[in-house]
Symmetry: C2
Subunit: 500 residues, 2 copies
């Protein structure tokens, strides 16, 4: 495990070489680079187009076992470092997609490798407990040290789960249970409730609903999927619930230039939300909760203002619905704050906040009253994985020690300003550059051009992801620095220049 | 990490001491013990009643963060070994419940610890990939070495998932997609399908159903939960689907003594299954698939004959439904065969077989035609966890090397014969002893006595679990030997003698 660690000085000098050597380079940094990633590579290095021959061979092999239609290429995770993903053909790419936004501090971070070699941690990996019945001794401490240290305002309770979908499913269940208990006035079900619930009938299984937004993505298990409305391919052929779907604001960017128009658009959507709540109550399917992403990610990086979310929160209070903020993709620091909802500037942002991806474990925070008072209502065999809590605690240490939220704000600014400049230069191709921290996106003139750009950029050593109909989303790790933004922008510029 | 490994000889002699010293001992082994677990402890050792003071303190602490109503006690996983779980108060208990049947080869198995110290494996733990798009180089090989080496008859395709519920949810989705494509005659959705699916409407989101059985347990996310009918507390207050629920045979035990009565009961249930398929088709909610456990576990260890399952398989063929066998609890060797469905003796047991728990990773095997032909229909960020495949491959090596399926058959026989004897002796308390391999259960006269027995047995150093209304289920690890069965039976005998 000998890592060729690049020193700060060496990295800086190598960096400059790559930088100035890039063709069409316009992004020479004006300020001195503040921080380098010590265990990072010095730039992309491409040996083949992607997927290369070895990836193609492995894809064929895996194709005998699984559907491989979504496989991009095969990776050499041992050789990947920091912001760079290395593939099995020896290509080294700057990664602005990070496994669908789920690698918090880059590949093979020394702090995480060190944790693995600590013999005191072995047992946590080898003996996966049924956390809900037989937790390990250090479980309360580890939760306090990891998740509770980043608990959203007003929340002291957290439940871990295995993945994002399980987190949202169980958050929905908590909201249903809370709503029914509120309706009952107490938490003791009737005999009829008990009897009918087992056979899928009311009143035990009531006709409650969750209100979600067009363009949203909350997961793919059947409860979550009923609130997901980003792409048809996710939902096609799967039975679902008749739950209300509100329009999500379709804003104009840059937000500050269209504040009047955007405020009108948001009002329209909020009115629709209230109408739907009333309509579904009349239908006999009352809205127990509203679920929303602070930025719709999979659906195309759709933003809304803090005002919009504050109003939504108030609508929930007014109509007695729970408010569930899904931070599976936005959480973990990538917007420049640990939670995207912190940008709203409110003390009581939500009743439930769910997470996964960069947090490494799934789960959700909740207010006291949302936690069911009886055992086994929210339960499964594993209820998460303490090994992931170990990693998360270390990730949070690194974030604090290296001031990564500040870094994200700084590199995010470099990234977004670069996108604004490119958008001005290539106005026939690019539009709607937007973002918060490094959680940025830009629209491409059409789907086909978008996909062509993604492939060409990858062949030049940068991994990006698509979202929505024709957007590119940027989801680098928290150790992505200004100079990484510049490397990307230079390459992106080259690709766009060749397209023009 | 110095483990006080007990040698075979020492263990044997210590074992004999414990054995003969137990009060009311009747289970002195008549044959020489064939195999010892080398890294095991020599017997239970109790210092406090359970939960002890330290567990109580930690439960209080965790209670500020989560609902702790289901917490039994806190564990010292570092000190746990083989068949013995050690708690934070220094109590060492023989574990016949194994984290709800999810520890395949005991605690801290040396083979798994060794795997953790291999530097080649570090990267797999530290860099969790988005498996569906960017798999690691060794992924096809690891699948072949682990899961495919135990693929059910007729299946060469496997999809990993994070947990049992996700496995079943995605298996259901595969069956819905397969059914709709069959109905279409091709796999290309119409524009109307695409448009309506995003807004939760037919025909894009069709009114299909999954037929399940009373008493079944298939998980707690909302799709799974619609097929779970074991206990009200799992389902209460959660909206669900109007899907058909068939009666599961309620057999008399021992099965061989009641073959005529049981065959009648099974016929009755099978008729009902066919009636429901017809009825739901007429209702406009055709049954796309049937899901069943080979032994209903959570629901009370309810068995059915190989004939019953073969007939069910044929009913599926006749009515064009997919057949999904849920082996989340029964899979992994505990019935004496790797899959419980192998006891049916058929070449084409199912269209889908799902797993989790003892397999360490969730997932499902499927026949070729059940795999959707388009990308992103079955997908999520993680799609499982390659670190779990590493462990599984090693677990399978140990199972083969140590002939653990034979051992399970042998120790299961000792366990079940002991239960038969105790049932004859305590006929007012015990009834319906039943089992396959070590996957055994026995009924107690009433729920309250059952729970009293569970606590008393635990205080004497044996961990058991309940299931159904008043059953005790036995779910030891695959390294549970005849002499462990005898240790348990002696203690159980003591508890029953004191109850009488």
């Amino acid at each position: 495990m000998a890592f060729p660690l690049i020193t700060r000085q060496l990295a800086l000098s190598l960096q400059k070489n790559v930088w100035l050597g890039a063709s069409g380079c316009r992004y020479v940094s004006k300020t001195a680079t503040k921080t380098q990633v010590e265990f990072d590579y010095n730039g992309p290095s491409m040996k083949t187009s992607v997927p290369g021959p070895r990836s193609q061979e492995l894809t064929k092999q895996l194709g005998d076992i699984q559907n491989v239609g979504a496989v991009n290429f095969f990776c050499n995770y041992e050789e990947s470092r920091g912001n760079y993903l290395v593939d099995v053909d020896g290509n080294r790419m700057l990664d602005l997609y990070t496994q669908i936004s789920s690698i918090p501090i880059g590949y093979n971070h020394p702090a995480l490798l060190k944790l693995m070699t600590n013999p005191n941690n072995l047992s946590t990996f080898v003996n996966r407990p049924a956390l809900g019945i037989l937790p390990p001794e250090n479980f309360p401490d580890k939760l306090t040290e990891s998740l509770l240290s980043v608990a959203p305002s007003g929340m002291t309770r957290v439940q871990t789960m295995a993945c994002g979908s399980c987190s949202n499913e169980n958050a929905f269940k908590s909201m249903f249970i809370w709503y029914k208990n509120k309706e009952r006035g107490h938490s003791t079900p009737s005999d009829e409730d008990l009897r009918t619930s087992v056979i899928n009938q009311a009143p035990g299984c009531p006709d409650l609903s969750i209100l979600s937004f067009m363009g949203s993505f909350h997961g793919r298990t059947m409860g979550c999927l009923a609130t997901t409305h980003s792409k048809a391919i996710h939902k096609l052929d799967v039975p679902t619930f008749d739950w209300p779907i509100a329009p999500f604001p379709r804003l104009q960017y840059p937000l500050e230039e269209f504040s009047r128009e955007n405020a009108q658009e948001e009002s329209r959507c909020l009115e629709e939300v209230e109408d739907l709540i009333v309509k579904w109550r009349q239908k006999g399917k009352p809205v127990a909760g509203i679920v929303v992403e602070p930025i719709q990610a999979e659906g195309g990086d759709n933003h809304a203002s803090p005002d919009f979310f504050r109003s939504l929160r108030n609508i929930c209070r007014k109509h007695g619905c729970a408010f569930h903020v899904d931070e599976v993709q936005t959480g973990g620091g990538t917007t420049g704050k640990f939670w995207a909802h912190e940008h709203w500037g409110v003390d009581d942002p939500a009743d439930i906040v769910s997470f996964s991806k960069k947090l490494l474990t799934g789960g959700y925070f909740q207010k006291d009253e949302l936690q069911p008072d009886k055992a086994y209502r929210i339960f499964n065999t594993w209820m998460g994985d303490p090994a992931k809590n170990l990693f998360l605690a270390e990730v949070l240490n690194v974030i604090r020690r290296e001031n990564l939220l500040e870094e994200v704000t700084r590199s995010g600014k470099a990234l977004l300003n670069g996108l604004y400049e490119l958008q001005a230069q290539y106005s026939g191709i690019l539009s709607r550059a937007r973002g918060q921290g490094t959680f940025c996106a830009i629209d491409i003139c059409d789907d086909e051009t978008r996909n062509r750009i993604l492939l060409k950029t990858r062949d030049k050593g940068v991994i990006l992801g698509g979202c929505g109909d024709r957007s590119i989303r940027f989801r680098p790790a928290l150790i992505f620095k200004e100079y990484h933004a510049h490397i990307f922008l230079n390459i992106f510029n080259d690709v766009l220049a060749q397209l023009k």
